[in-house]
Symmetry: C2
Subunit: 449 residues, 2 copies
């Protein structure tokens, strides 16, 4: 499908979304299921986090009829509120999926409202998959059109682009017309928000949750006849330019239906920022070389691109800091040989041995290394140097998690998150999502019946 | 109160808000009541607009216990949903108040959540006034700190700054601590959204409604312990810079408690963009000079600043266009001698005589004229020229509406809006707001008892 210059980009995207069927996207459904399985892993892992519980308390008085499950818990809320909370829990630990071209975490803002709405209205599994694949497509294309300037300028791209994906996915699920979906996209543009400055705080979760909640709201408003500018994204006073970018319309609307952004989705083995994964992998290799000599470390130098340093060279005070700290990633990988949810907990942050090792780490720019790569050099008290360079981290497109890895990640997360849900049932239902007549048997607490 | 460089701007603002009492703001209460009266005028005027009714349909399934009135109607919703809808109706006709330094319409995003929350929780009138005055203060200071670049770049400043005002006002009403209010401000920064490209569509109303709804949500989340970056506004990757501005911290935090933004609020006599008011006043004067010669008009030239031309030189297809059209403002003022809600209706837009007169109008830049001023020159078929220049339009700070004018505006709007509410009761209760023990007697349909 080609972009017609005479019409707005939103209409081109909406024409594609409205005309795309389950048959058109079925080839992408395995990757979509992997994404949704990973979404459940991270949502189950954080189901009882204090941030999630506080959001539940805050939203409960403002929820309509309780149609939709809070993942990993027994409570239900209306679809907008459930979308907010499930998006928060899926993204809370920075352990969700990553679209590497944009560093968008695609699933949280899209799967959360799609599943909540599907449960409320009794939509079938193949409709959920179709909506999810198309939502991720538009979310990531909007991100592509303004990357890399957008994130670098201070926009939390998962939030700011997630609302477009949520609007499109919910619009598709509600079987809106192309014109209505175009309006939903434009309404999303007027709700797009979230800043990087707030990343180390709960305010970050608010913008991720709002992407889900407000995207669903955009679709509902469009269904009620709400309109938007056809050039809400690319207009002179539109979303992209207000946010500081000349939008790349080719990346936004070129090759629709020929390439699929969901195919580029990746899943993290470690609950840290994606740019730290190569650091962790390098440290695992160094740990094997070190053997018993960890007490002999004098300094540890981590080299990487400007992105690594911008995101990770920081003081560590809590769990949130740790997940985006070069220093903490090095310390837990070298000392503990692990980098799971436990190793990034507040308890781990304040361990004296990890604190001590963090102080030996310094970060250094090596502009020759690509984003996502890292070189770690250990200098021992003996003067010996150990060095490892990792370009393709575990979980990257070049070294993806297997289906079994993702299942194992889900089981680990659910155990740590003390969820009330039956993980076997969740895993089974996600793999068979295309044949479910409705998602109720997936979206509920308790053991399989 | 002085800004401490070592702490974030949000904390400085929050310290001021938390420590300010009713006694401190009572001197501003008359202007606050005028603002709230004007808020009711515009909300009552649009109570049964299709846009409001559609929002009510969209939100009803997503509303908790119905604690709060929809102004001008008999329905109730929860405080977040009611805040959304009342902010929409107060702003819908572009007839609400204006803070001229920023072109923020202060009341809609702040009064709507404050009144909805006060009704839900049974808070007294003086608390409502205190919260409203402080909310407007912070809303307009945030706008001052990024003006004039912010609006010009494509941000709908009433929406983007309104959410800060709503968060602060609701935080004050909930008696949050200074730290919690600082967090509410930071959470608001992650929810700030709304683009100028969408102004001629209902998507504009969504961002105004969201400012109210999400501002209240920010305060509720802060009350539940949600945190934010202390430098969410002015940080390197914070709100102001992401939005494209170097924030002016002196305008943000200088002279807190010494000057009051509410004192600079103005109220429109005409339901058109504020920059068109001088055009309308000039045309009223020209109409008197023209006498019977309106059929002899050859051309009408409107001169003004770049702001006037940027906002008003457009094709007119509907009511929304008309309210921001130089051409339509000229036509109705000259031909009908009036510029009220009736003259900007869809019916008026399609009147052949107005269409014909609109075509004789052209807009021309005169950079020597200040924003808000206009010069209108009529050339008659006889070659005679008539000219009027207006610098201080009716409704400006130099020529404000009287209390009686605002009451009359409220009565006019309520009649046109076919509201179910008793206007005498509304007017009486607003003037006596400081002595109301709760706002229930103000926030309800039906005749006074």
């Amino acid at each position: 499908m080609r972009h017609d210059e005479a019409q707005g980009a939103a209409q081109t995207l909406a024409d594609f979304v409205a005309s795309t069927t389950w048959a058109d996207v079925a080839g992408q459904s395995h990757e979509a299921k992997r994404s949704i399985l990973n979404f459940f892993a991270t949502a189950l892992g954080s189901a009882h986090d204090l941030t999630v519980t506080a959001a539940l308390r805050a939203l409960s008085p403002y929820s309509g009829a309780a149609t939709s499950a809070i993942i990993g818990r027994t409570e239900r809320l209306d679809a907008q509120s459930a979308a907010f909370i499930n998006a928060i829990s899926a993204n809370l630990l920075d352990f969700d999926d990553t679209h590497l071209d944009t560093i968008i975490h695609p699933a949280a803002p899209v799967a959360a409202p799609v599943l909540a709405l599907a449960q409320a209205r009794g939509f079938p599994g193949h409709a959920v998959l179709t909506a999810f694949i198309l939502g991720v497509e538009i979310e990531c294309r909007v991100g592509n059109a303004v990357s890399p300037g957008h994130y670098a300028r201070g926009w939390h791209i998962t939030s700011t682009c997630g609302v477009f994906g949520a609007a499109v996915a919910c619009g598709k699920l509600l079987a809106l017309s192309a014109d209505q979906i175009s309006n939903a996209i434009g309404i999303a543009a007027s709700q797009s928000a979230g800043i990087v400055e707030n990343l180390p705080s709960a305010a970050k979760n608010v913008s991720v949750g709002n992407a889900a909640r407000n995207g669903l709201f955009a679709a509902v408003l469009a269904a009620e006849g709400y309109s938007a500018s056809p050039r809400a994204i690319e207009g002179r006073l539109g979303w992209a330019r207000a946010m500081g970018d000349e939008p790349d319309l080719v990346r936004l609307t070129g090759g629709l239906g020929e390439t699929w952004e969901i195919a580029k989705n990746t899943y993290k083995p470690y609950p840290a920022g994606i740019v730290f994964h190569a650091v962790i992998d390098a440290c695992f290799r160094l740990r094997a070389k070190l053997d018993q000599r960890i007490g002999n470390i004098e300094t540890i130098t981590v080299q990487g691109s400007a992105l690594l340093l911008a995101r990770g060279d920081r003081t560590v005070r809590n769990e949130r800091d740790a997940r985006v700290s070069i220093h903490h990633c090095v310390a837990c990988a070298l000392l503990l040989g692990a980098a799971g949810v436990t190793e990034f907990s507040d308890a781990a942050v304040s361990r004296p041995d990890l604190m001590s090792l963090r102080q030996k780490v310094r970060a250094e720019l090596d502009a020759s290394l690509p984003d996502g790569a890292a070189r770690v050099t250990i200098r021992l008290t003996t003067g010996e140097m150990l060095r490892e360079t990792v370009t393709d981290a575990k979980g990257s497109l070049a070294d993806p998690l297997s289906d079994g890895d993702i299942e194992a990640k889900l089981r680990d997360c659910a155990r740590l998150g003390k969820s009330d849900w039956d993980v076997d049932r969740v895993i089974d239902r996600v793999w068979h999502l295309d044949s479910l007549t409705d998602v109720t048997s997936l979206m509920k607490a308790g053991v399989q019946h």
